[in-house]
């Protein structure tokens, strides 16, 4: 009986795998377009020049990023090459300091520190402006990143990762960009306490 023949199951394994790999390949091509900067889900890096918000969409039932009017970062509008250079720098900071071995981006990484996906939109930064003596949110974030021990948020302190001014600004720009990525509603209920939908 063919069910007793290993060759039957070998053929089944090969055909199953090939079909699944073909489907994966097709979906990968489509997804890569969507997640490229400027694609359907991921904004171009120049989004850092705009106001970012995260608003509940009743039709979709999830929070979605909303890209608003002009809001230059550090008071300066960046063109595409400058924005890209800042992002490249930021990602090198994030990797060289192993940020994702304490924090998460899009929920991926380590869980000792908070998720950073929407950190740009965290309501806490308003308070940190006065604490750090900064005039803007981004300056408060830079001040925090450069001396997190001085501006500790709670008993589990972030250590000083010895970021330069340039590095800290690049990271802040990166956080503004990630806040504008459409993550299908992650993290949920952002900023809404005891939300009931």
């Amino acid at each position: 009986m063919r069910f007793d023949d290993p060759a039957f199951w070998r053929a089944g394994a090969i055909s199953t795998i090939l079909v699944m790999l073909c489907v994966l390949a097709m979906l990968t091509v489509d997804s890569l377009q969507a997640i490229s900067p400027g694609g359907s889900h991921v904004p171009p890096y120049t989004v850092v020049n705009r106001h970012i918000d995260y608003v509940f969409d009743a039709d979709k039932g999830i929070d979605v990023p909303v890209i608003g009017p002009s809001q230059p970062l550090f008071g300066k509008v960046l063109d595409a090459p400058a924005a890209t250079a800042m992002m490249d720098k930021a990602k090198l900071v994030i990797q060289s300091r192993a940020c994702m071995d304490c924090h998460t981006f899009f929920g991926n990484g380590a869980y000792y520190g908070p998720d950073l996906t929407k950190a740009w939109l965290d309501p806490d930064w308003e308070a940190w402006q006065s604490i750090t003596g900064a005039t803007t949110k981004e300056d408060a974030m830079v001040a925090f990143l450069k001396d997190p021990e001085k501006y500790a948020t709670w008993t589990r302190k972030m250590p000083n990762m010895h970021l330069s001014d340039e590095e800290a600004r690049a990271v802040v720009a990166y956080l503004k960009w990630t806040a504008a990525v459409d993550t299908n509603g992650f993290p949920p209920n952002f900023g809404h306490v005891h939300a009931d939908r």
Binding site: G12, H41, N108, A110, P188, N189
Partner: protein, 464 residues
């Protein structure tokens, strides 16, 4: 004993030693949650975690390689081709691991430049090792592949198990190439990173451990080749049939299109079904032999592999895999609970089973039994289950407090972390981690002394 088998013993010994490093780094990582000021300014959580998860990957890889180097010569009837190269690379591999670990501990971080990525820390989870070391891993795996494929060619023999292994090695090595890039776009970075991580631990590694368990079953229980090969093909079909598109369960929230919610959730939800079949198979095999074999610890650890894989991967995974739930559980200690249970059940138990088998053969012990393995077995498994249970409580608390009700902000995160249930969970996790460490110590004692102790090893034939 073939040279390949002597090398296998070295790889398994190195694997068990690294298992110890992983355990100590795990205890340290867990302790930071209890005392966040511990070693502050000297050694932080992220370095301890890097040591913990990177040694996890390396010790399991070394265990797999040890197993294959052990079985390969008997499988193909000759000394593997190029074994001298593998022997040299073993020492290079161990030295590289040591250097990388020392640099992680002493240097820790570099500047935001390519030099840091090449020599210090790449900062991408599981593959933080600097590029020079990643190149070394590629070299080791390429030589490993050469040993396998070259021997097949030279011996002019091929078995079904070796054929599956050979085909599996190609994507295994190719996927590791994602250990090198530093892509700026986080969505894109994670997209490819998940190809490496998921298609390793939920695809190619599953096939690899399947091959190893097939080879182990033949030696341990005398199961016929035709049976294990038939089952290997079925397992490969079912695990890869669900696991390849199950990759989508990592694509819910990273900026990818929302069709992944449906596709990833659907195939991921099917993933436990083959594991059910594995449970039936394991119970059947155990039953036909009345849980007796000449090597009881090897048999018990193999049974634990089947059940652990089902529980850790199947049950724990199924709890959090549907996207509506995953939205709240993603990136919490619930994930950690699942990860610990799944890695343990799917891979660690299998490597320990092989270690016991190899020890029996190398010490010429006709029967392997005794008290020590039972204490180790109990302490390791109870310790692991305790950690997993404690993390489940902490994770559910976090999902509820931080995500469901708290609004997912920094304040919500802190509220979750300070919740009494969370704090208790992390405390208990550490306590059970100590029990696990105790079990590890006995495991090492047992593996080192089996066959050399005056009592408990008796040369008697055991009827099946």
């Amino acid at each position: 004993m073939y040279r390949s088998q002597k090398l296998a013993v070295k790889y398994l010994a190195a694997a068990i030693a690294l298992f110890g490093v992983m355990t100590v780094a795990g205890l340290l990582s867990a302790y930071y949650y209890i005392n966040p000021d511990f070693l502050f300014g000297m050694l932080h959580f992220n370095i301890a975690k890097i040591l913990h998860i990177d040694t996890l990957v390396i010790w399991l890889l070394m265990g797999f390689m040890g197993a294959i180097y052990w079985f390969l010569p008997d499988e193909l009837g000759r000394e593997p081709v190029g074994i001298w190269l593998a022997e040299i690379l073993f020492y290079v591999f161990c030295a590289a691991v040591a250097v990388v670990a020392v640099v992680f501990i002493v240097v820790q971080y570099g500047g935001s430049d390519q030099a840091s990525l090449w020599f210090i820390n790449q900062g991408r989870k599981y593959v933080e090792a600097p590029r020079w070391a990643a190149l070394g891993v590629v070299a080791v795996m390429v030589v490993f592949g050469y040993n396998v494929i070259g021997t097949v060619i030279a011996s002019r023999r091929m078995t079904g198990i070796v054929a599956v292994l050979m085909v599996d090695l190609i994507p295994l090595v190719a996927l590791y190439l994602d250990a090198f890039p530093a892509v700026t776009n986080m969505s894109q970075d994670l997209f490819w990173w998940w190809w490496l991580v998921h298609l390793w631990v939920e695809a190619t590694w599953e096939v690899l451990i399947g091959c190893i368990m097939a080879l182990t079953l033949m030696q341990l229980l005398g199961t016929s080749r035709k049976i294990v090969e038939s089952w290997l093909y079925i397992e490969v079909a079912l695990v890869l049939g669900t696991g390849i598109l199950g990759l989508g369960h990592h694509y819910f929230w990273i900026g990818t299109p929302n069709y992944w919610l449906g596709i990833g959730g659907f195939f991921s939800a099917l993933e436990p079904l083959p594991l059910l079949g594995m449970v039936v198979h394991a119970v059947y095999d155990a039953g036909t032999h009345h849980m007796k074999a000449t090597n009881r610890p090897a048999l018990y650890w193999m049974m634990t592999e089947a059940f652990g894989n089902f529980l850790g991967g199947g049950v724990w995974g199924f709890m959090i895999t549907l996207p509506q739930i995953n939205l709240y559980a993603h990136g919490t200690q619930w994930t950690v609970s699942h990860g610990h249970f799944a890695f343990w059940g799917a891979y660690a138990c299998g490597v320990i089973s092989v270690a016991y088998l190899v020890v029996q053969k190398t010490r010429n012990s006709a029967l392997v039994n005794g008290a020590a393995w039972k204490w180790s077995f109990a302490a390791l498994n109870l310790g692991l289950i305790g950690m997993v249970g404690a993390l489940l409580v902490a994770g559910m608390t976090q999902s509820f407090v931080e995500r469901a009700t708290g609004g997912s902000t920094l304040r919500a995160f802190i509220a979750g972390q300070e919740d009494p249930w969370f704090v208790s969970g992390m405390m208990l996790r550490f306590v059970f981690g100590l029990l696990f460490t105790f079990g590890y110590a006995i495991l090492v004692y047992d593996l080192l002394t089996l066959g050399k102790r005056s009592v408990s090893v008796v040369a008697q034939p055991v009827s099946p």
